[in-house]
Symmetry: C2
Subunit: 266 residues, 2 copies
């Protein structure tokens, strides 16, 4: 039974711009889980991308007596823990700087299909995986940031095991092999539910063997951002936590590095 305070909070949260999940705020204490991989020379990018490059600048004592360090860097929009803006696969979609921030903050759900993916590395997440979560948790995925845990995060940063190939270049794309969200399940999510965003612990919300990227297209057409290469999903419960995912504000960008965290009640 809800306490007075809980009931007040449910009333406050629904329909407001705060949109933090009441459960994660009501815990006595919460822990912050960083769902982001660092950007460095080992960060995994698509085989056609050169990866993250840090251009080291000065780092040492100046002649004026103070220490100073500063660098520059170069990156693709889509690599490491990043966000696909709807513009990535939909010409009329929002660019990464204009995605509404309330889509990127709020109640989250973890759909854990790791056991299925461990026996089938090309597993496609099904509608039944979504409905089973709803039945088990007695709630719908509406207004939720939906995270898919394939278990492939444990392979990071081993390109061969994480992507299915360590080769690079255009020819390597056909050799990609990892699980993803079945386009039929993506269709169900946009037609039967109203989710805020989707996230996955692989390099792409479409499975590695996808050639038409239909899941991307379906989500992007409906303005749903996809969060990819999400880290540390093994530290999340399946419900009752809050996600905040704030992307670098690249004007007109099709995507961007994102710093993504979860707040999990203790």
């Amino acid at each position: 039974m809800l306490s007075l305070c809980q009931r007040i909070f449910c009333g406050v949260c629904f329909g407001s711009l705060l949109l933090f999940g009441a459960p994660s705020l009501l815990g006595q204490t919460g822990r912050i889980v960083d769902l982001t991989y660092p950007f460095d020379e080992n960060t995994i990018f698509w085989p056609t991308e050169p990866g993250f490059e840090l251009e080291k600048g000065p780092a040492g004592m100046t002649d004026k007596g103070y220490y100073y360090a500063a660098n520059r860097f170069r990156s693709a929009e889509h690599g490491g823990t990043h966000m696909d803006a709807p513009l990535h696969f939909f010409s009329s979609g929002e660019s990464v700087d204009t995605v509404p921030l309330d889509r990127l903050m709020g109640d989250a759900a973890l759909i854990d299909v790791a056991s299925k993916c461990s026996s089938n590395s090309q597993y496609l997440i099904q509608v039944s995986d979504l409905t089973k979560w709803e039945e088990r948790n007695h709630r719908r995925l509406d207004q939720t940031i939906v995270l898919f845990r394939t278990g492939f995060g444990k392979f990071w940063p081993d390109r061969e095991r994480y992507l299915g190939t360590k080769e690079r270049g255009k020819e390597a794309v056909a050799k990609l092999s990892f699980p993803g969200l079945d386009p039929k399940a993506a269709r169900w999510l946009v037609e039967q539910r109203r989710i805020k965003a989707a996230g996955i612990d692989t390099a792409s919300i479409d499975a590695g063997q996808s050639t038409l990227f239909s899941t991307h297209v379906i989500l992007c057409e409906k303005g749903i951002p996809a969060l990819e290469n999400v880290a540390n999903m093994d530290q999340l419960p399946e419900k009752g936590f809050t996600v905040i995912a704030l992307p670098m504000k690249i004007k007109g960008g099709s995507g961007a590095p994102v710093r993504m965290i979860a707040i999990v009640p203790m």
Copy 2:
């Protein structure tokens, strides 16, 4: 007088990892203020930096029938709305990927010195500006993200008015002219108070005419990140709001682009 619910929440928030300010969660509704400038060709960087470069990639229909857009980009760590990690001016300081996330989320305070800066563009924010805020608001700045509003945000992205010079290169640095935090006030903040982070609506937490960057050094030595080129401070109240500032996770970085927001009760 605090309601029962407010009192419960104060108890929950202090000492927990959630560290969201109770007032901003208790409002009936809240609005999200994006405190971040977009990264584009007009984004202001230090005169010695080349600025943000978007390397436009494909953007159009593929031969397989789906739309696709993706770009690459290049940037300095310190430009646009960004975070200085303690490593920027302190060799033993935390790099941007290791700054504790609970420093970057929570109750915030706005110290508004815009009227003083409008008559003195090189104004140095004083201890008295801090103590007056505390007296007026009947609370200390401990455990707060302290934002300084000089009013210079209204000049963005006009380099000449915002920085004091539109020139570029090493010679331009001596011509920089904008307000900043007096090193004596920085010293007071680290010795007399325990703040989480500091932010300002100029290009540097040290004033433009600084040559020793003592405020940076003082803050960095104590592990206090500085948020610079913070946008839209004119939309903030002086107290009772929450800030979340999540930087790009550059491994070993001295700083990074940050996506920074405020949640303001309505």
